[in-house]
């Protein structure tokens, strides 16, 4: 699982910090700024051939105000969930050690009790109020040697409209632990965009009762669900820009599908396709400089690529069939898409300049390819597996082997990869008929339901 570091935590945090100032519309969370505490970096090991057992008790509130006390409890739980998500550590259930007294400080830890419990590593954290903000200190201890493998202190100041977010401290700690212990890019601070009809607002200008769909975002675990469009019509198929600052989507605000880009922290809306024909299903290239999309501007639905500002539009497909649903390879050199040129919709691949178009799937009906990030070289997609139902499958591009992720529970569509390639988010009608979003490991394990309100569609995972 270990792979070369793509982004070091410091860079990630620096990136967040530069976003933080000037956030008029959305409440961009200012991340905790880490402060280095002297540490000896090493990897905590489990028994031979087993993952290390980790425990995360409640953090200790050093100030007794209600917000800090609540934050301490939240951080322990959220951090445990985050660490469980990648299945790199064997997380000991939290109720097992509810009786172990909370550490009085990050250096005063009842190691014997943790050893009795069989923990190899334990995360001890403290929270205190500092001015209007919060300070969190943490240690990841190796229980055997009683040494800290990771020690960090984080400060986050509150600003008007951006209260301290305890979950973000936990997510930041989790990602640092993955990076340091596993050289793995965690996804605890990533977000998911989707569309939803949950506000049950009626679309205007039509005699039918039609419910609007708006774009929403939430944390990777489904927390903090927030609406980001006010269109009172269809706003669907969101796609994150690689830098996480913008979401491109399909908007019917002008009465027909067109591509809009919302810079969610600045409140700027751009319309790169300018209503030239009808355009939908935008997909940012990995470097964020280009957008692939589908348009009927030349009379038939074809795949096009444009610069993100709408300039330099190139048409990539030329045939009377439907060509739709583009997705980029992680290098940006190839695009996979869906075409019904051979009858039923199937997935094809081509070079990013439109040459070398070739079929990839030969099934009953396939749609919504989504190319995995490295190191995996695979494409996930929705495949019809029953008359009215789809399942999520993955085709390995090295050996063309197909694996199945879902198995006929409801209809499962629109898969999107997490930026580390280890998870997928998709929409499913399992559990009652209305579409909800679920995350799942690429091996089909660890299914988590992310949404419950209204019906929710077409998820996309931020970088």
């Amino acid at each position: 699982m270990a792979r070369p570091t793509l982004i070091v935590p410091a860079l990630l945090l620096a990136g967040w910090a530069t976003i933080a100032p000037g956030v008029p519309q959305q409440q961009q969370q200012q991340p905790p700024a880490p402060q280095q505490v002297p540490e000896v970096s090493f990897t905590i090991r489990g028994g031979p051939g087993t993952a290390p057992h980790f425990a995360v008790p409640d953090f200790l509130a050093l100030t007794s105000d209600a917000e800090t006390v609540a934050a301490a409890k939240t951080m322990g739980q959220v951090l445990w969930d985050d660490l469980q998500f990648e299945r790199e550590f064997d997380m000991i259930p939290r109720d097992v050690y509810a009786s172990i007294p909370v550490a009085r400080s990050v250096t005063d830890v009842p190691f014997d009790r943790w050893r009795e419990l069989g923990a190899d590593g334990v995360v001890i954290g403290t929270v205190q109020r500092v001015g209007t903000g919060m300070r969190v200190e943490m240690r990841l201890y190796d229980v055997q040697s009683r040494r800290a493998a990771l020690s960090k202190q984080y400060d986050q100041g509150a600003s008007p409209g951006a209260p301290v977010n305890p979950r973000l401290f936990a997510h930041t700690i989790a990602d640092e632990i993955f990076q340091q212990q596993r050289n793995l890019r965690g996804v605890a601070r990533t977000k998911i965009a989707f569309d939803s009809n949950r506000d049950a607002e009626r679309v205007g200008g039509t005699i039918e009762q039609r419910q609007a769909k708006e774009i929403y975002i939430c944390d990777y675990d489904g927390a903090n669900q927030r609406r980001i469009t006010v269109s009172r019509t269809l706003s669907i198929t969101p796609d994150w820009s690689p830098d996480g600052r913008a979401i491109a989507y399909t908007s019917y605000a002008r009465g027909f599908p067109d591509i809009f880009i919302s810079f969610i922290y600045q409140g700027i809306l751009q319309r790169p396709t300018q209503g030239k024909g009808q355009s939908f299903l935008p997909a940012y290239s990995p470097d964020g400089k280009q957008i692939a999309f589908t348009s009927n501007r030349d009379g038939n639905d074809e795949i096009y690529v444009m610069n993100a500002d709408g300039s330099n539009v190139r048409r990539l497909t030329h045939n009377p069939a439907i060509d739709v649903s583009p997705t980029w390879s992680p290098t940006g050199l190839q695009i996979a898409f869906v075409s019904d040129r051979s009858g039923a919709p199937q997935i094809f691949t081509m070079s990013a300049d439109g040459t070398d178009q070739r079929p990839l799937t030969h099934e009953s009906y396939c749609d919504r390819p989504t190319w995995s990030p490295a190191p995996y070289n695979e494409i996930a997609y929705a495949s019809r597996t029953s008359p009215g139902g789809f399942d999520i499958k993955i085709v390995n591009l090295d050996n063309m082997q197909i694996s199945q992720v879902t198995f006929g529970q409801g209809s499962n569509e629109s898969p999107a990869y997490a930026p580390n390639g280890r998870h997928l988010v998709f929409m499913s009608t399992r559990g009652g008929g209305r579409q909800q979003l679920y995350s799942v490991g690429r091996d089909g394990r660890d299914l988590r339901q992310l949404t419950k309100v209204g019906a929710n569609f077409m998820p996309n995972w931020s970088q």
Partner: protein, 195 residues
Amino acid sequence: MQTRSATGVAAVFILTMALAMGACGKKTSPVVRPMPEPSLPAATPAPAPTPTPPQPVTEQPIVPPEPVAEASIDSKPLDELNREGLLKPVFFELDASDLSSDAQQALNQNAALLKEHSTWAITIEGHCDERGTAEYNLALGERRAVAARTYLVSLGIAADRLHTVSYGKEFPFDPAHTESAWAKNRRAHFVITAK
């Protein structure tokens, strides 16, 4: 909704014919007299667009509330025209956009109406059922709308009066998960947008 609007149209038609026949037969100018207040239960608000139900025609010709059918269509607001469903929807088979003979018949009727009302502009909405994927359906709905549009153009309707838009499976007409609901949802739906 559909059946009720159809009944409404039929009612207007019958009233108009009754008036025309009465006028012709007797060769006297029709007597205009106020319509009696419809006696409705107090709590029920009178639905504005519903024409007075036809009463048995005896010796007195019945005077419709509006002058005549032609004028009445042209003076109605768009929403009301669309509610009456004058332009017939066209239905499709699963995963298909071919026009069946029923579909062509509906389009023939729509074309006749569009020729009669040469100022109307319409939007043809393409819709799909939930058994296709959301993304591909956005394209399939467009193909269905274009199929209807192409046929209307072949019947002599000016292309610039006919706009198309696909809603994929985003706006089902019947949200149920049944064969009959799916059949209703695979359609080209016509909306008068200007007159």
